[in-house]
């Protein structure tokens, strides 16, 4: 060992100092000749120089011999091996192409997912000092995993924690109407963010034009009059005006000065933000508010996340004590900003990475099987070479070189494929990747691909090498047949490989199957209404103009709401209905299936409850409630089961009414008619008893939450003037639904005109088909299903090819044996079953292993699955059936070739 190392060291030195070696050689020879010359001269020889040369001999030859010794034979041999391998690989190009493709697909999958994963790591956040940035969220009672926003009073308390954070800021979202502009451009709905003044500093961003807010511009109680806009908005709507700073525009009807433009690269959490305004907290909000803030802070240099978390736990306990109404049971959580940003996405990607790794293992097993077959077909060649003096190590090394050439070529193709996939993916970036700004195959990804390729090559190269080491090549040449020990040894390795392939494929397919089933469940879910052909758009009025804060109710700010919004919406509704091409039109404050709804406690009028008199909180479970215009149920396709719909006669002047859904009727009036009963929603004291006039079908609250919940619908005109946060916002927004035979393109201008006729400052947004929005809601699961399905398909194809190859080879190798059996009268069926028996056995062994693996691993899919358990029997059963059928066919096809075997010619050929 030492000997070898020393030789390697000396050779390496020679390899890297070739010139010095030459010089040393020259010097050594020259020294010798000079000494000899002196000795000869002193002993009186004439012409001593020539004599010394003669005595030394052929200098060139000796120099050449020495050089030969020092040459780095390992590199030279590698070169020879490479040439040999590429020759032999190009001769069997079907095998070569198959192996390279297998590896390439697997490496492409792994590299693609790894690049995405890499892009979600800390350094991809383009903010200053991202390692020290943290996101603070609240933890709702009884959902320790969930993350909610932070309310304003708690945020203000957090800003006092200067020993934890040296900078802290908050953001909330707001969409506003821009315009109408002086030049007549129509009003435009923009998505914006409200920033507290320190936020820019926390993130370390600067505007490209102008400046950020001063503390005075975002002081408490000061209505905001300034904003920063996005590069996009500056260039598009505002025409890239170079004097944009200090230009004044109308935002939600208020004159607002543009003080700066953010660079195009800047975005925070949302895919598109067009303006940033100061978050103007009102004195009321400092006492109580809903949870609306995304809080980001910069940790002090000597504070760890854990220390911050400990302090936040103490703070949360304090909040719960001082304001139990709002904070009892709530916790606080601090995470690195990158975890807050990418946490969910990372989890999705980790599952994909695991699946891709399974595909790689299958590809390895596959190529190992093929290589083994190839190697065993070449035993004779190897035996001959070994007998001619090639040492065993050299042959093993050649096998390994071959594997590495295959895996590295496959890796290279894989990286190119991954690059293509990523380019395509980022060009039509799906929603679930919207947080990732930039993905690149950088040196880390490249190193990853290289290491994976090398490991792959070693993994599938190891099988034949091990096999080679196990038995005597010379003995094989002397006449051992494929049925002797060596053949069995090879078959044993092959069986292990087949078993592994089947097991891994099984695991992957079950995972994919669960996700696919979950997706189809989502897609086919009965939502309780008819989205097909439904057109939708949203309108919103600026809340500041129509709200006046007057006090508190149940711990929340109380508002006086102007009656104007409801009247405006009603006029839009009436005009829409009158349009010639529209069959039905209606409005609702929160779009159906948007995932949230307002909820409030309620009581049944005249029915005393055990908790206390009517009007006090918490005696009956909360119900969801919506404000709608007449005709809503007909438009949305929700069946009216009994009673009547709201009509134009249900106004502020007439008795207040309500419509409930079936769930509510069933739960609260199981044995009597709900119609005619009166309910009181506990929102504000001014809320009056409402008579139930109709019962409608249940609808899903969201795509994900199909369980029917009790729901109350109120006419949007019959609402009290006093209202309270958090429900206030819903008094100034309205989502309209339309049914029409006209195309969307024809409808939009007509709708815009109608709305503008009612109020030109009223912008419409999110115009589109309801089906399309519903489709977008399941876009991420759809992608996920496609990707996992694709991986599953690749895995299946690879392992089917693997199984096929093993059986086909076995048939080819056992040709003589089988021919003899046939010649001796064995029947076709028994021959086929003989060939198939072993493979089938190992498929049967592989299945339960895969089954067990899947049981252990599918729990990682828990967060992705919807209405499908991680151990769904139907999926497990059908995948087992599918895989066994496919594997059986892959076995049967080559096995049936035996039937076409002509015993005479086969025996002669051997």
């Amino acid at each position: 060992m030492f000997d070898g190392l020393n030789r390697l060291r000396l050779r390496l030195r020679a390899f890297f100092h070739r010139r010095r070696l030459e010089k040393d050689l020259e010097d050594e020879f020259a020294f010798h000749r000079a000494m000899r010359e002196e000795a000869l001269r002193s002993s009186g020889v004439k012409n001593a120089e020539t004599a010394s040369r003669r005595q030394f001999g052929n200098e060139t030859r000796f120099r050449e011999q020495c050089r030969e010794l020092w040459r780095f034979t390992l590199l030279d041999q590698l070169w020879i091996d490479l040439r040999y391998v590429s020759r032999s690989l190009s001769k069997t190009w079907v095998f070569t192409a198959g192996a390279i493709l297998s590896v390439a697909l697997a490496i492409a999958a792994n590299t693609t997912v790894f690049s995405l994963l890499q892009a979600t790591l800390v350094n991809s956040l383009k903010f200053k000092d991202p390692d020290r940035l943290v996101m603070i969220s609240t933890i709702p009672p009884e959902s320790p995993e969930a993350n909610e926003f932070v309310a304003i009073p708690e945020y203000v308390a957090l800003t006092q924690e200067t020993e934890l954070f040296d900078r802290i800021g908050a953001m909330s979202r707001r969409s506003s109407n821009l315009g109408v502009a002086d030049d007549g451009l129509p009003a435009d709905r923009l998505d914006g963010q409200l920033f507290t003044a320190p936020m820019f500093n926390v993130l370390g961003v600067q505007p490209e034009v102008g400046r950020v807010f001063t503390p005075a511009e975002s002081a408490i109680g000061v209505p905001p009059t300034v904003m920063l806009i996005s590069h996009r908005l500056w260039q598009s709507r505002l025409g890239g005006d170079p004097n944009i700073a200090d230009k004044t525009v109308l935002l939600d009807g208020t004159a607002t000065r543009i003080i700066g433009v953010m660079p195009p690269s800047f975005r925070f959490l949302d895919q598109q933000t067009d303006f940033w305004r100061p978050a103007p907290f009102t004195p009321f909000q400092l006492r109580a508010s809903t949870r609306i803030l995304t809080v980001v802070a910069h940790l002090n240099a000597d504070v760890s996340i854990q220390q911050a978390q400990d302090q936040l736990n103490r703070l949360a306990a304090g909040f719960a004590r001082t304001d139990p109404d709002r904070n009892k049971g709530w916790g606080l959580r601090v995470r690195s900003l990158s975890a807050g940003y990418f946490g969910d996405l990372r989890q999705l990607l980790f599952v994909l990475q695991g699946s891709a790794a399974l595909v790689l293992l299958i590809a390895c097993a596959n190529v190992a099987g093929l290589t083994l077959i190839r190697t065993s077909a070449r035993y004779r060649e190897m035996a001959i070479r070994s007998s001619l003096g090639a040492d065993r190590l050299r042959i093993a090394r050649q096998c390994l070189t071959e594997s590495l050439v295959l895996s590295l070529t496959g890796g290279l193709v894989g990286v190119v494929l991954a690059w293509g996939t990523l380019t395509l993916l980022m060009a039509n970036r799906p929603m679930w990747l919207s947080l990732i700004d930039h993905v690149a195959i950088d040196s880390t990804v490249f190193a990853f691909a290289l290491v994976v390729s090398l490991a792959t090559g070693l993994a599938f190269g190891a099988a034949p090498v091990l096999h080679l080491a196990r038995h005597d090549l010379v003995g094989w040449m002397k006449g051992a047949t494929p049925f002797s020990g060596s053949g069995r040894d090879r078959q044993r390795i092959q069986r292990v490989l087949v078993t592994a392939q089947i097991a891994f494929t099984m695991m992957l397919l079950i995972g994919a199957g669960l996700v696919i089933k979950s997706f189809f469940r989502m897609q086919r879910a009965d939502l309780g209404f008819e989205p097909h052909g439904l057109v939708t758009f949203q309108t919103r009025l600026p809340a500041d103009q129509y709200f006046k804060q007057v006090g508190f109710a149940n711990g929340f700010p109380q508002l006086d709401v102007s009656p104007v919004p409801a009247t405006l919406f009603n006029r839009v509704f009436e005009r829409l209905q009158a349009l010639p091409h529209i069959d039905a039109a209606a409005g609702i404050n929160i779009p159906p299936l948007s995932g949230y709804a307002m909820e409030a406690p309620f009581s049944i009028y005249g029915q005393p409850t055990n908790a206390g008199p009517a009007g006090s909180e918490g005696k009956l479970p909360n119900v969801y409630f919506h404000f709608v215009t007449p005709n809503f149920f007909k438009t949305a396709g929700i069946p009216l089961i009994r009673g009547r719909d709201f009509t134009a006669d249900d106004t502020t002047e007439t008795p207040w009414v309500a419509i409930i859904n079936e769930s509510m009727a069933r739960r609260h009036w199981p044995r009597q008619d709900a119609i005619g009963q009166r309910v009181i929603l506990d929102i504000v004291h001014e809320e009056r008893p409402r008579q139930i006039v109709g019962i409608v079908g249940d609808t899903a609250l969201s795509r994900w939450d199909l369980a029917p919940s009790p729901m109350v619908y109120l006419p949007q005109l019959q609402l009290p003037q006093r209202y309270r946060v958090p429900y206030g916002q819903d008094r100034v927004t309205m989502t309209f639904l339309l049914r029409s035979n006209s195309s969307l393109d024809a409808l939009i201008p007509e709708v815009r005109r109608t709305v503008a006729e009612v109020d030109p400052t009223l912008a419409i947004a999110q115009v589109g088909m309801v089906e399309q929005y519903l489709g977008e809601q399941i876009e991420t699961p759809r992608y996920y299903m496609l990707v996992l399905g694709l991986l599953g398909a690749i895995a299946t194809i690879l392992s089917v090819l693997g199984v096929y190859g093993v059986v086909a080879y076995s048939v080819a190798q056992r040709g003589r044996e089988l021919a003899i059996r046939i010649a001796l009268g064995a029947r076709g069926r028994s021959i086929v079953s003989l060939v198939m028996r072993e493979t089938v056995l190992f498929i049967v062994v592989g299945m339960p292993i895969g089954f067990a693996g899947a049981l252990a691993l599918t729990r990682f899919l828990n967060t992705v699955l919807w209405q499908v358990t991680t151990t769904d029997t139907a999926v497990f059963a059908s995948i087992t059936l599918l895989l066994s059928t496919v594997a059986l066919i892959a076995t049967l096809i080559p096995a049936c070739r035996v039937l076409r075997l002509d015993p005479t010619s086969t025996l002669r050929a051997e």
């Binding site: 030492f2 000997d3 020393n6 030789r7 000396l10 050779r11 040393d24 050689l25 010097d27 050594e28 020879f29 020294f31 010798h32 000079a34 000494m35 000899r36 005595q55 030394f56 001999g57 052929n58 200098e59 030859r61 000796f62 011999q65 020495c66 010794l69 020092w70 003096g389």
Partner: protein, 113 residues
């Protein structure tokens, strides 16, 4: 590889290797000195071309039996000095023993008749 060892050159090579190891076992010396010693030791019977010594020296060095270092010679010239390594010493002993056994065997065969 069997037939290679039959070549006379290889016999010569093996002998030369042992001679070199034996010579160098007396202490550090450069190529010219080694050549001179071999001349003396073999009573000038072994008259090969002197340069042939060098491939042999380098081979022994590569096999780790010799170690080398450049130094200044007695007459103030740069020369490469060789010395025996532990492995070289072991090899020399083995070769000597083997040679003694072989020659004893051959002697007994030759003398038995």
């Amino acid at each position: 590889m069997g037939k290679d060892t039959d070549r006379p050159a290889d016999l010569l090579q093996g002998t030369l290797d042992v001679l070199i190891l034996k010579t160098v076992s007396r202490g550090e010396m450069h190529g010219y000195e080694i050549a001179e010693r071999i001349h003396e030791l073999s009573n000038e019977a072994l008259s090969v071309e002197e340069g042939a010594l060098y491939p042999a020296l380098h081979r022994l060095e590569l096999r780790g039996l010799l170690a080398s270092a450049w130094d200044v010679s007695a007459n103030n010239r740069r020369a490469k000095y060789y010395k025996l390594t532990a492995a070289g010493r072991k090899q020399l002993k083995e070769s000597t023993d083997a040679w003694r056994r072989t020659s004893a065997a051959i002697n007994s065969i030759l003398e038995s008749t």
